[in-house]
Symmetry: C2
Subunit: 340 residues, 2 copies
Amino acid sequence: MNLKQLSHMLSLSQTTVSRALNGYPEVSEETRRRVMDAAKRHGYRPNPSARRLATGKSGMIGYVLPTGNAVDIDPHFVEFLSGLGDYARSHELDLVLSPADADDQETTYRRIVANRQVDAVYISSPRPADRRLALVNTLGIPFIVHGRSEGFEFDYPYLDIDNEGAFHEAARLLVQLGHKRLALINGDDRETFAIHRERGVRQALAASGLTLGERHICSTTMTEENGYRAARRLLEESGAPTAIVCSSLIMALGVVRAVRDLGLTIPGDLSLVAHDDVFPWLRPENFPVPLSTTRSSIRLAGARVAERLAARISGLEEGARGEVWPVDLVVRGSVAGAPR
Amino acid sequence: MNLKQLSHMLSLSQTTVSRALNGYPEVSEETRRRVMDAAKRHGYRPNPSARRLATGKSGMIGYVLPTGNAVDIDPHFVEFLSGLGDYARSHELDLVLSPADADDQETTYRRIVANRQVDAVYISSPRPADRRLALVNTLGIPFIVHGRSEGFEFDYPYLDIDNEGAFHEAARLLVQLGHKRLALINGDDRETFAIHRERGVRQALAASGLTLGERHICSTTMTEENGYRAARRLLEESGAPTAIVCSSLIMALGVVRAVRDLGLTIPGDLSLVAHDDVFPWLRPENFPVPLSTTRSSIRLAGARVAERLAARISGLEEGARGEVWPVDLVVRGSVAGAPR
DNA sequence: CGAAGAAGCCAAAGCGCTTTGGAAGACTCT
DNA sequence: AGAGTCTTCCAAAGCGCTTTGGCTTCTTCG
């Protein structure tokens, strides 16, 4: 059942039927009702390929997926996706994943824009002066950044959590508990979120006249193993930290293992706070010692990003609105006063 | 630059240019070269929307993503995706994720097929007599199942690992080590993979005249917490198992925690084997006691599925070929002779 | 009463590609 | 030489929608 047949059946022109269906004003209410009715009765669905060719709109949103043998997709991605799906599902919005060589995403961005494959894209894990951002900005496709970049002349729309504030709070709490030697086990410090977190910790320390020792900061991919290694190194050196702030629950798993291996205890010998993106399959309250966290649901962020992308596509949202979500500090058993 | 302009520029008809570009034989080699050359020089790229409207082919593969408030996407998904991306990237094949209400995926399948949004789909985590399978089979869209179903009249193309064999091996090893009371902490037993694993364990036990006690089998979503709960229940009852086979590394995390909480040790009091899908961020060799596993890279499976989907789209693969990958049993420190 | 304006509809021209059904010329064969 | 067969190309008809420009008909108002 296509437009031609439907309009024939109604003894109307394709123009009128098309307009009736798409809510244009040049058609009487009565006619519109008749058309809508017939369309529903016969289960008419406009052919997206045709609509697309005519309008250039695809009704899909895009994400360029960095891949490569040495590239691992972050497990956070799947939670973000859940949220995105939650929104997209109810709006018949599909997501196109375009895999790209992690070292050359530009080609892919250009392709999906030139081909008009998607109406909008989102960008995640941005870095300072991220080239992708500059690119999509000049390409002129609607976009939203999940996270933030730095060092651009122009503004851009984004959704981020208050990483700096969150880690500031976490560090401040630890300082208040008497800790003088803090360490930060961070994610990849080429990414903005990690920079913000470090900044938050440093500022909290500075506020009490403390500093983050040069050897008291690590930044690596967020795996259990890297968490373990970092913690071991930190804890085995002289002047070991009495508190650690950690960028991910998965790394915290490694920290906990290291602490155990060294015969130490949490929070007796070491206080630990980690960031929790809220995974359904790994919860901080279930750590051997319930883990204090800075918490923010990445899934909700996914839903919000989808919502805003949809709004931008339909022109409801414009400009470079940035949105920063506050982060909860949830105190559990893994923190205590500094040992002496 | 579109076909019209290009053909004008070459003083050829659109027909000829189109055919030259698409490798049809009705065009002389010399003309073809001229056309190819000009196309490359002017960076001509056929408009996919137009091609799509004309041919009905989209050059994309699809996946219906079950979503919902109570639905969590499995973290395995991201690894599978990495593999899929590895292949797809080098073939300019995009993946369309169509989020659907987990309880009504049929509508979405029908939509993407009717709209010809994708050229092929894959189905994951199938259950016995899975309706999605019957559906795509009748809808006539090329597909591949990642995993297997059971109880259908028809054959279908799939890629699966030898779950039954893997768990058979694991259980057999434990039995050989003298364990008489085994337990299985499984995934959701409505899914075929879980059924196969259970079958494998049961058969290994049966071969030695043993059985899997009714209360020695659990099946739940694969989270750390569920692993913990299952293990606690198992280990606190009288007649507790001396060995556990576990369907996921994440659950195994919970098992290890439970063992610790109860003051027991691995492998002294309990031997443990888990299935490892090979996550970059959580590795069995880094468990407190290196974990024995049945190992199979889900990432490689993703790449293979993409490859086969591409083959099916281009007609290189036909029929209902099933492919079952063997699984490695990797023995590490977490297994030992049964305590007495 | 006639002109101007609004409302409601339509025919047809795109969008940019593929594919059908020839047609013209070159070549082979009897 | 004439019939038949390839080879190589082309014009035009789709694919199914949106949108432009215009044409009636009906109101409204001086």
